[in-house]
């Protein structure tokens, strides 16, 4: 089979062929596929990161621990594991806005955000986010950052997994953690959007 321009049918056949050989070697079962996929379809996703962010917005002690050692702080909430073994949280302020990218592959903090969306893994975001972040945020994500705020882009070139603690939206004084967590989006923890406004 030609390597170039495989169709979905050709890829699916190749995967099935490889899967059949790995099944015979005892490395994979169909039950294992179902189990593993179920975790990232139903259990691990950005709703977990949102819980941590909402806690940080309401509990200064937790916020301090999160910024000091995100991996350890997230354990308090039962959050952690694969692709989040070494997490570092970046706090947005009026002076600095943070955003994450992986220019070399697709590194992403799975325990708090789940597996990455396709656009995060594709060449366009990876190439441009370090080169013209202000333009990318404004033109591709509709997220305009004032020139007086530094944009700091974190290229995830090692096993450190960065993610963003967005600014708490105004008008949310006295809100519960649950209400606040609903305002925390995947994009706000990547740094390509703000948390949702209070309505």
């Amino acid at each position: 089979m030609n390597d170039v321009n495989r169709t979905q049918q050709e890829i699916a056949a190749r995967v099935k062929a490889l899967e059949s050989m790995m099944i015979e070697q005892g490395l994979v079962t169909t039950e294992m596929v179902d189990h593993y996929v179920e975790i990232y379809e139903n259990q691990v996703g950005p709703q977990l990161g949102a819980i941590a962010v909402a806690r940080a917005w309401t509990d200064p002690g937790f916020k301090a621990r999160l910024l000091e050692n995100a991996t350890e702080a997230c354990k308090e909430l039962g959050i952690g594991g694969m692709q989040g073994e070494h997490m570092v949280v970046l706090e947005d302020t009026d002076d600095v806005h943070h955003a994450i990218v992986c220019t070399l592959c697709s590194c992403y903090p799975w325990p708090v955000l789940g597996t990455p969306p396709n656009w995060y893994k594709e060449p366009q975001y990876r190439s441009r986010m370090v080169r013209e972040p202000r333009k990318v945020l404004a033109e591709e994500f509709g997220f305009s950052i004032p020139d007086t705020t530094e944009i700091r882009v974190w290229d995830s070139s090692s096993e450190i997994r960065y993610w963003v603690l967005p600014q708490r939206p105004p008008g949310t004084e006295g809100w519960t953690e649950e209400q606040l967590a609903d305002l925390v989006t995947r994009d706000s923890m990547i740094g390509v959007g703000p948390a949702r406004a209070a309505s």
Binding site: A17, V28, P123, Y125, F141, R152, S157, D187
Partner: protein
């Protein structure tokens, strides 16, 4: 290696097309490919670094134009075949069979509770990459450093857009598995890891840089050398 996967700063690739939300998997074959990575780890086919290198060795045209999880498939095949876990002719034969018979079943097999426990354990505990070393910490926060201007063959995380550029050390992260060793089948060789910060003007030139922006990059000790206050590299 200098390859197209090293995308930082590449121009002309077009619009990003972000989505507000996405399902984790867009096709059933992606679910199997996703899981086979854990099977390969369990079978000792690769480390995370050599897994990444298997992707980097893809045909660059295919790399830029193929769906993401197809990248993984190429790495499974590369390591499976080169390390003797897979016979390419047999893989090709089965591929043709499933192409001709897409609904043909996978080989009958028994459930294996150990594999399910393995998945649960890996998901919840992960695989930490920090390792002790007795090598000295060469740099302190605030030090000026220059990324070496070299073009290694094989796997490295020294992206091209930072080579030769001057940055400020903003954190020492501890010592970690060195990808340039692990990704090239040369053991773990732990090295100190630093986060270094570049002003956009240093990376792209004042006239081409977005205003008030910076980029941080995680650099293992061998990637960087000290810079004196006058801009020269110190001995």
């Amino acid at each position: 290696m200098n390859g197209v996967f090293d995308l930082g700063g590449t121009d002309g690739l077009g619009r990003i097309g972000p989505t507000p939300a996405e399902p984790p998997f867009h096709h059933d074959w992606e679910k199997a490919a996703f899981t086979m990575q854990l099977g390969c780890f369990r079978g000792g086919w690769f480390s995370i670094d050599s897994f990444r290198h298997g992707i980097e060795l893809m045909d660059p045209v295919v790399y830029l134009s193929s769906p993401y999880y197809e990248h993984w498939l190429h790495s499974f095949e590369h390591h499976g075949i080169t390390k003797g876990h897979l016979d390419r002719a047999e893989l090709d034969r089965r591929t043709q069979y499933y192409l001709d018979n897409p609904d043909a079943p996978l080989p009958a097999h028994e459930p294996d509770p150990e594999l399910l426990e393995f998945v649960s354990a890996v998901v919840s505990a992960g695989a930490p990459a920090d390792r002790p070393t007795d090598k000295p910490i060469r740099f302190q926060v605030g030090d000026l450093v220059r990324v070496r201007s070299v073009a290694p063959f094989g796997h490295t995380r020294m992206a091209r857009y930072v080579r030769g550029k001057v940055a400020t050390v903003v954190a020492h992260r501890g010592s970690f598995v060195f990808p340039d060793a692990s990704g090239n089948e040369r053991g773990e060789d732990p090295q100190h890891l630093y986060t270094i910060q570049f002003d956009a003007a240093e990376l792209w030139g004042e006239e081409h840089a977005d205003v008030n922006t910076s980029t941080t990059f995680d650099a293992w000790d061998p990637y960087i050398e000290p810079v004196s206050e006058h801009g020269g590299v110190t001995a």
